[in-house]
């Protein structure tokens, strides 16, 4: 271990508390029983689809589109997931096929 047990525990605790705090903030502002302002209720309703959109971009954030393989494994596997899901609407099928395809693409093709 590069640092002492005490220091290790302190670091773990600080990291844990900081991350918990980011997840806790909205609940601090709006504890149980407090009437939600209409704009917050509205945001709560429309945010999830926007967040999912943001997370998709987040997953692709490190892909290099400017040089080989030009993000092709991600684009191909991603397109297959979307099309397969639009066709069959089976969560496990879309995720399973897309993931295996991506693994084949990055390991054996590109």
């Amino acid at each position: 271990m590069p640092v002492s047990v005490g220091k290790t525990l302190a670091i773990i605790f600080v990291v844990s508390a900081t991350i918990f705090f980011t997840r806790l903030i909205p609940f601090l502002f709006f504890p149980n029983g407090k009437e939600l302002p209409p704009v917050i209720r509205y945001l709560g309703r429309v945010l999830p689809p926007a967040v999912i959109g943001m997370l998709v971009i987040y997953c692709f954030k490190s892909v290099e589109f400017t040089h080989a393989p030009f993000g092709l494994p991600e684009l191909i596997a991603g397109a297959v997931v979307v099309l397969l899901h639009a066709w069959k609407r089976n969560n496990m099928l879309s995720i399973g096929v897309g993931t295996v395809l991506y693994m084949v693409l990055v390991q054996a093709v590109f």
């Binding site: 429309v46 943001m54 998709v56 971009i57 990055v106 390991q107």
Partner: protein, 252 residues
């Protein structure tokens, strides 16, 4: 009293059984992303129990990857707080949509907030609580299952990361696929397409403008601003359930 306890245990069993199939993509993703963390932390000199302990009490993908670098002499706690806060800042968003649903979860509420990762949050919106299962138990089951995959993955990684018999490169695409499936599902539902598009475009533009390390905060500000400014446009779009009801009414 005994029968109350028994029936509660019965619905918990049902809740976990109902939640399990939904968590399979997270199982695939977390086992391997967790293993990657286990390998990294083990290389820093922390054995398997440390790896699992960290995954138990921290429970964050990118947050734990970043934390691996903190175990060096002379690290500043202020710096740790600042960096972890920035890496996880997107989580501030998540609770806003769950305030109402978490209100009736009693003692489980603190744990549900603690365990609100990207993937768990997404599953809450992809899945519907099955009939006969109390919602708080269903949410709790998803949270506990996901968390246990994460702990298990990091333990496996620390224990036998170097002995993995097959090349798992790319398996973390399961997480990307999960988000893509949710996006597609919502799109096919015809619900909230404008909001999803706003999220995609804001994040994409900010990724291009600010780079991969710094784009999430501007993207969040941009999404909030557009949703609030364009409220009439976004509200005029129907949510999924309303649309279904309307279709039924028309059919009737």
């Amino acid at each position: 009293m005994q029968s109350v306890l028994n029936s509660e245990r019965g619905t918990y069993k049902k809740a976990f059984a109902a939640a399990f199939p939904h968590t399979l993509p997270v199982l695939a993703g977390y086992l391997f992303i967790g293993m990657a963390f286990g390998v990294m932390i083990q290389e820093k000199g922390y054995h398997v129990l440390w790896a699992m302990f960290m995954s138990l009490v921290i429970y964050a993908g990118s947050g734990q990857y970043l934390a691996v670098n903190f175990f060096v002499p002379g690290i500043s706690f202020l710096q740790i707080i600042f960096m972890e806060f920035m890496v996880n800042i997107r989580h501030i968003f998540y609770g806003l949509s769950l305030i109402g649903r978490f209100e009736k979860t009693g003692k489980k509420k603190a744990y549900l907030i603690f365990s609100l990762t990207d993937e768990t949050y997404s599953l809450y919106f992809l899945t519907k609580t099955p009939p006969g299962v109390p919602e708080d138990q269903f949410l709790f089951a998803i949270a506990v299952l996901d968390h246990s995959y994460w702990i298990l993955g990091s333990g496996l990684g620390a224990l036998l990361g170097h002995l993995i018999p097959f090349d798992a490169t790319g398996i973390d695409f399961a997480m990307t696929a999960l988000f893509l499936v949710i996006l597609t599902e919502q799109w096919m539902d015809g619900a909230n397409r404008r909001s999803a598009t706003a999220g995609l475009i804001c994040a994409l533009v900010c990724r291009i403008l600010f780079g991969e390390e710094q784009f999430i905060l501007p993207a969040m500000v941009c999404i909030m601003a557009i949703l609030v400014a364009g409220r009439r446009m976004f509200e005029s779009e129907k949510s999924g359930e309303k649309k279904e009801r309307e279709v039924e009414e028309h059919a009737g």
